[in-house]
């Protein structure tokens, strides 16, 4: 028996997820333009692995496959994994990461809507701990042609050090640490001067700053479509700018500029696509602000003082842990019970 309301808005989980995928397209386009079509292969591998893993788990759990496979949530996870893993990661790395995300982090916790952690980021963390070398090899923009990328993905020769370098974030951190060493050649150089190398563009890494712009465009579109609210992206960017700005303002020679932080690595992807995952993120407006600001500060700390190339993944997981308490403590006053 159906009770009121008898009318409903045309909305579905599927359409929400589809719009998220669409919003990723500008970023992916920039990715292909600067780094080659290898990323598309990665996306395809991850999507196939995610759907296969999801289908198997749904069968084991006795859940209807048709609805849950077409809700596209697994595909969103797969795309985020492909976009955060190195584009030349071997295929089995991508597959393992995706299966971990979908099978362990999502389905074993109860499937759609039940996972306390962001599946893509949990997979990233597990993989970077398990395979630190493979997860840290990033080609520079335009460095590899499609065939080489394919060879690398599908297990051809891996003369890793010869063909790949670190991410701009990693490179800059290494350079800055070197610059702090009085014995080093680059001692005394400022961050701005260190960023003069071929890996760097105008604001962040060469090419990757354009990808970040693509994500920003897609993310703003999501806000305009009311798929996400402004709270998380705004709080994340603001907190990252402020944190980075404070240290940079005190010692511009030792720390990267706030704009560099914003335009590099997964900052934009994180702000608009990862932290905004509703299932594992905070849901109250004030909670979202706190959640995203905390993630931004953790990201900065891990990037600047930690050992991993980017901090988004660990920051997201750490904040995921805090979500229940953030949500509980930030419940907005209800109608008639407001103080004002």
């Amino acid at each position: 028996m159906i009770n009121s309301p008898f009318v409903r808005k045309a909305a579905s989980v599927q359409s929400v997820m589809l719009q998220v995928l669409l919003a990723l397209v500008p970023g992916i386009a920039a990715y292909v333009w600067f780094f080659g079509a290898g990323i598309l292969v990665q996306i395809a591998i991850a999507s196939a692995a995610a759907l296969a893993g999801e289908a198997a788990m749904l069968a084991i759990r006795g859940k209807p496959k048709a609805i849950f496979l077409t809700d596209l949530s697994a595909v969103v996870t797969a795309w985020l994994i492909a976009l955060t893993f190195p584009p030349i990661a071997p295929w089995w790395l991508t597959v393992t990461g995706t299966l971990l995300a979908v099978v362990v982090v999502k389905q074993l916790y109860g499937g759609l809507g039940q996972n306390p952690f962001n599946p893509a980021m949990a997979a990233f963390c597990l993989m970077i701990v398990a395979y630190p070398a493979l997860m840290s090899q990033w080609p520079a923009a335009g460095q590899l042609d499609f065939k080489t990328q394919l060879d690398l993905i599908f297990g051809g020769l891996r003369q890793v050090d010869a063909i790949t370098g670190a991410t701009p974030l990693d490179a800059l951190r290494t350079a800055l640490r070197a610059a702090a060493n009085p014995d080093s050649q680059v001692h005394g150089l400022r961050a701005a001067q260190l960023m003069d190398g071929p890996a760097f563009g105008f604001l962040g890494g060469k090419g990757s700053e354009w990808i970040a712009l693509g994500y920003l465009v897609g993310g703003l579109w999501l806000i305009q479509r009311k798929i996400i609210t402004w709270h998380i992206p705004f709080a994340f960017c603001a907190a990252l700018l402020v944190t980075a700005g404070l240290l940079w303002g005190v010692r511009p020679d030792a720390f990267a500029s706030p704009v560099f932080h914003l335009a590099s690595g997964g900052a934009m992807l994180g702000a608009f696509f990862i932290l905004t995952d509703p299932v594992s993120g905070a849901t109250t407006p004030r909670g979202k602000l706190l959640f995203a600001a905390g993630a931004a500060i953790l990201t900065y700390v891990i990037r600047t003082f930690g050992a991993y190339p980017d901090g988004i993944a660990f920051a997201t997981l750490l904040m995921n842990i805090l979500v229940p308490i953030i949500d509980m403590k930030t419940q907005a006053p209800v109608f008639g019970h407001k103080k004002d």
Binding site: M1, I2, N3, S4, P5, F6, V7, R8, K9, A11, S12, V13, S15, V16, P64, I67, D71, S73, G110, G111, L112, G113, Q114, T229, P278, V279, G281, T283, T284, D327, Q331, A332, P333, V334, F335, G336, H337, K338
Partner: protein
Amino acid sequence: MLRKLFKFHGGVKPQTNKERSTTAPIAAVPLPDRLVIPLHQAVGGHPRPLVQPGDRVFKGQRIGGADGNLSSAVHASTSGLVRDVAPAVMPHTSGLTTLSVIIEPDGEDRWGELDKVNYRSTPPDELRDFLRDAGVVGLGGAVFPSYLKLKPGKEGKLKTLVINGAECEPFITCDDMLMRERAGDMLKGILAMRHMLQAEEVLIGIEDNKPQAVAAVQAAIAASGQSGIEAVAIPTRYPAGGAKQLIRVLTGIEVPHGRRSTDFGVQCFNVGTAFSIYEALELGRPLISRLVTVAGNVDAPRNYDVLIGTPMDHLVRLAGPRADTDRYIMGGPMMGVRLPAFDVPVVKATNCILVGSEAMFPAPAPEMPCIRCGECAKACPADLAPFELYWFSRSKNFGKAQEYHLFDCIECGCCSFVCPSHIPLVDYYRFSKSEIWAREREKEAADAARDRFEFKNHRQEREKLEKAEKLAAKAAATREKVAADGATAPAAGSDAAPAAKPAPDAAKRALIEAAMEKARQQKAQAAPRNTEQLSPDVQAEIADIEARREIVAKPAASPLPPQDA
């Protein structure tokens, strides 16, 4: 004339579907073969039936008397013969029956004697009783007895009287048509309410998708020459017609759940209620008919002036229901009630009969898990976190649901409307609320039973004590008498006494001995129970009794038997 309006959080904009039913004027309905008038139509107690099968009734005759403080009367909608006073299916999701008066109209539609009242010269208490007996209740859907709301707050006057003509539910246009066609009379009702509440200003809130209604009311206000009354067009956004939301929009005041709005200097009535107050006070007509929109899956949606008790299918037939009709909904598509049958009667709460079919209101897509997207929280006009309430309701964690203000939910349906996972959220809240109410009823019943049980035990103890006391007193009296006899007997002649009393034979003596032994044993058993946890007073009393018992016991053991042994 730009008034500052306030916003309420959330809300949705469903398709309004109001145009078609406003093209034709309000129509009358031919008398049906029978009227089924449920006695329980309003919030509050069940009115007592005042008629019996076989009685002839006039139009407007009271057939159900208000019961208790929170009830209002029910009247015959036309003249005719009372066929039966029996349970009949009521327009409620449950499909349960309620005691109803079934009237066979005689076709004459003859009014009884009509009692008018001049509200300006009548004391407020009398006016309220008059309105209670005229059966006037809120016609916006809540059917709360109006006389209870017509009391100004502590200060004896009110700042703002809000009149609700917002009509935010899709499909429903009965308030719209009432304002278009009967604005003048409605205004008279409003003036009466203003007088009763001593309201400084009157704000009539009308959603801005009803420009004709706004114009009609404004014209009526201008014609009346009254000041301090204003028809305000408010933005069209569901549920702007919720009483709390409308008060918020017009005055900025948020009335919390469980508080009286008069405490905040406002009170809110539906436009239809205002019209029935006019009819009751100035024409002496009790509430026996109302405007009903028939819309949805019909060829000619329209508004009708319908007698209470008219079977719904009789009414819907006039609008031409389509062949695939499979359900009636009372109310609108957002908050309406799906009805158990087609022939349930129109009641005071029936503002709309929404005729539906599977094609018109398809079942929602299968329910998916909640992804905590927060759409429901964005849409909630009560600023709740519906997904949290859903989670607690689903896991039957009712305490937590109440902590998250479950009872502030007005069941407007906005959350279910927007949910991308198609979760019937409101159903979960309804379930939780009715479970909590049931538990409270059970708890009250258990507490009452406990009290009564304890009282009975206490009473039995007390009775036992009293009985013992009485016996002791009686024995003492006997003893005194015996003593007195003993004292006087020797004086009269000492040898007469033994001769006068027959010597008790051995068998009788043994019997008495046995009975007394038994009593002594019983007393010994009862003693420990009686002497535990007693107040000093009672203990003193018991000691007293024991002392007297001993006195009684001594002569009993003597050769002289008690007289009444």
